[in-house]
Symmetry: C2
Subunit: 414 residues, 2 copies
């Protein structure tokens, strides 16, 4: 089997995007529900394809954890289907009038949300991303141009083929979903270099994928950056609340980007709070500055690198500061602009932290773990952006749109 | 004089941006007015510096038209000052609450406009851009990191020095405005490669500058693309209105990006309308397809390249189409996504054109020349984006901001 050239595939997605851009919410929802039903009906086909991938992965000696992420079963196929049904229930962002006004000369101007066009998504092993990403793109009126990992190629092809059949059954172009069948590294790079056809590239994967995009992409992209998130326990913090929040932010799911990585404590409460930290984070490896280590003898020495590291693990750095200013400066210096939380009952301290800390999300008296599309109420999430342009913070369907000015006149000239 | 290293300058701008981000509207306006006053008071200093640039340009044999763009006089300095005063009267976009809601768990989420941080602007000969760009950045709470052309270096340094003095007089950091003093091409490239310090790069210049950015920039940017704008005269057009609009769109200022470059005419009105076009665009060079040339014998043959070209001159391409579909397809194929206008009294034709044409601005019964920050009522314009991400269409102060989620809780955990 020869792989189809990337530009040819991208061009097909672009052509389909023109039709999708003006498709009604009703037909897009119909397509999502049809895709969900067909996925369930074709479960055995999808599982057979997946079995091939799992076998190849095993032969290639891939680690068991990764194979588990790759493996599908009946429950996981059902979950994909119900994900698509859930997207069908969300409000359609397309057509929303963001703003509108009339000029003195009578021109009526409105700013309306429209689809981006072709959204390219490049992702790592989990094959469910094929279905999740296609569903979000479809609902927001975008053609989905997908590139999964080589290990999941059979699963991804099977899922994409089901989705394509379902959308074409309801009368939408099958190229609304286009999956790249060339799994070479060269194809991945070529995938990022289709500025004539691709309107936005979104990666779902780790560091090396992001770096490949930074180095090679010639299309516009929105990327998830690191989340070196801080919890700052202020002089006026309720320490019981601080304990609950810190425990949650650090340990509820340490491997995700909105988990806390660093604790900053005001010196006036450090001696009281840090011994408690020592106890309630007893299964967390702690590294701290000199003053932190006085209160927590088991803590290791925190290097500058530690303060700048997203551990994504049961490890946390601790810094003691003498003022709010010092706390804000430390967070801005070492943070990655993801999610930063202050625990305080002091109005002025909170306002200053919320305003002066430069991050996608700033929180008062709440866990950083809430910075998430579902938790924000978006119903679905395509990622969390740490960029400042286009989308910042959790991205839902709205962030898969752009805006267009519509100007209605009656013969106006300048 | 040794030039200051670019990263050192960028770092200074970043430091200043932290202060600017939380500066009140009152103090920012005070700084703008102080800068306007000081510019007028220092007119002779600025003009002396400018005279050096003009002399060097003349010695270098630079064309008279470019020298005119470079030259300042008392009137032009006054115009810069009144530009700054005008920006002081505009509403401050910073702090605007774009959206806000309460989650079932009681978390209060709001999305608030905040400055981007450091806005880098690279521009060509006109020295007034130094003042205009600095004013817009200041009002929107951003540090301005500026790189003008080598021909205007003395003028730019003099203007920047006045602005820096004025902002520091009212208590804002002088590095709110940082001008690069190294005018080498290497420095221009280095200027585009400061991702640690620069939040957004905006070019103001022609093709080759844009290309340099596409090839070299490692910071996020928003660029003005070409404007190959069409006017489509539909079967149901009022031909008198079409004449007025086309005349305006093509000839009022042919050198700008929102001027019309191509006329598309429905075949049912072509025989009546095109002979009129021949007369009212008598000083415009016309090139057309076969049917257009039947009605306008003087028109040359339009090549495919002509249909794809932004002439920026008294030249226009003409295509006759048999249907609205053909018109929309032609506009989407050959357009650059800037501004596209339909002239029609037919509701369905208008709705289809406005919805199916993929451009930053689509117009009905109005000249493409209205697609402009001032004409849209933004009060000031930093450019017109043909990108789909971040900003699309005319960019005012709002487009110099990003958003931040502020989450207020009372101890919530997941």
């Amino acid at each position: 089997m020869t792989a189809t050239p990337i530009p040819e595939l991208a061009k097909r997605a672009k052509a389909a995007s023109r039709t999708l851009a003006t498709a009604s919410t009703a037909i897009k929802n119909e397509a999502l529900l049809a895709a969900a039903d067909l996925l369930e009906a074709r479960t055995s086909t999808v599982l057979e394809a997946n079995a091939k991938d799992v076998e190849s992965a095993r032969e290639a000696g891939i680690a068991e954890g990764l194979i588990d992420r790759l493996r599908l079963d009946e429950g996981r196929v059902k979950a994909m289907a119900s994900g698509l049904r859930q997207v069908a229930t969300l409000p359609d962002p397309v057509g929303e009038v963001v703003d509108g006004w009339v000029r003195p000369n009578g021109l009526k101007i409105s700013r309306v949300r429209v689809p981006l066009g072709v959204v390219a998504i490049i992702y790592e092993s989990r094959p469910n991303v094929t279905s999740d990403a296609a569903g979000l793109c479809l609902k927001s009126g975008n053609a989905a141009f997908l590139r999964g990992s080589s290990t999941a190629i059979n699963s991804n092809m099977a899922i994409a083929s089901v989705l394509r059949e379902a959308v074409s059954r309801v009368g939408l172009p099958e190229d609304s979903i286009v999956l790249v069948d060339d799994v070479s590294r060269e194809a991945a790079v070529e995938f990022m270099q289709q500025p004539d056809y691709v309107d936005c590239l979104i990666p779902r994967g780790g560091h090396s994928l992001i770096q490949t995009i930074l180095d090679n992409a010639t299309v516009p992209y929105v990327i998830d950056g690191d989340g070196n998130c801080h919890v700052y326990v202020d002089a006026a913090a309720d320490l019981d609340m601080a304990e609950e929040i810190l425990l949650n932010a650090k340990t509820q799911r340490p491997s995700v980007c909105n988990a806390a990585e660093s604790l900053v404590v005001h010196s006036s409460v450090a001696e009281e709070f840090l011994p408690r930290v020592d106890r309630f984070l007893d299964n967390v490896e702690l590294v701290g500055d000199e003053r932190a280590r006085k209160s927590i003898p088991r803590a290791g020495v925190a290097t500058e690198e530690d303060f700048g590291t997203e551990f994504l693990d049961m490890k946390m750095s601790i810094k003691v500061v003498d003022s709010l200013d010092e706390a804000i400066e430390h967070v801005n210096e070492t943070g990655t602009g993801h999610s930063e939380s202050i625990i305080t009952g002091d109005y002025r301290a909170a306002e200053r932290f919320l305003s002066e800390v430069d991050a996608a999300a700033v929180l008062q008296n709440a866990s950083t773990r809430f910075v998430d599309g579902e938790e924000f109420g978006f119903g679905a999430e395509i990622g969390i952006s740490t960029q400042k342009l286009h989308a910042r913070g959790p991205m839902g369907l709205q962030q898969l749109t752009t805006a267009k000015y519509i100007v209605r006149g009656d013969g106006q000239v300048r």
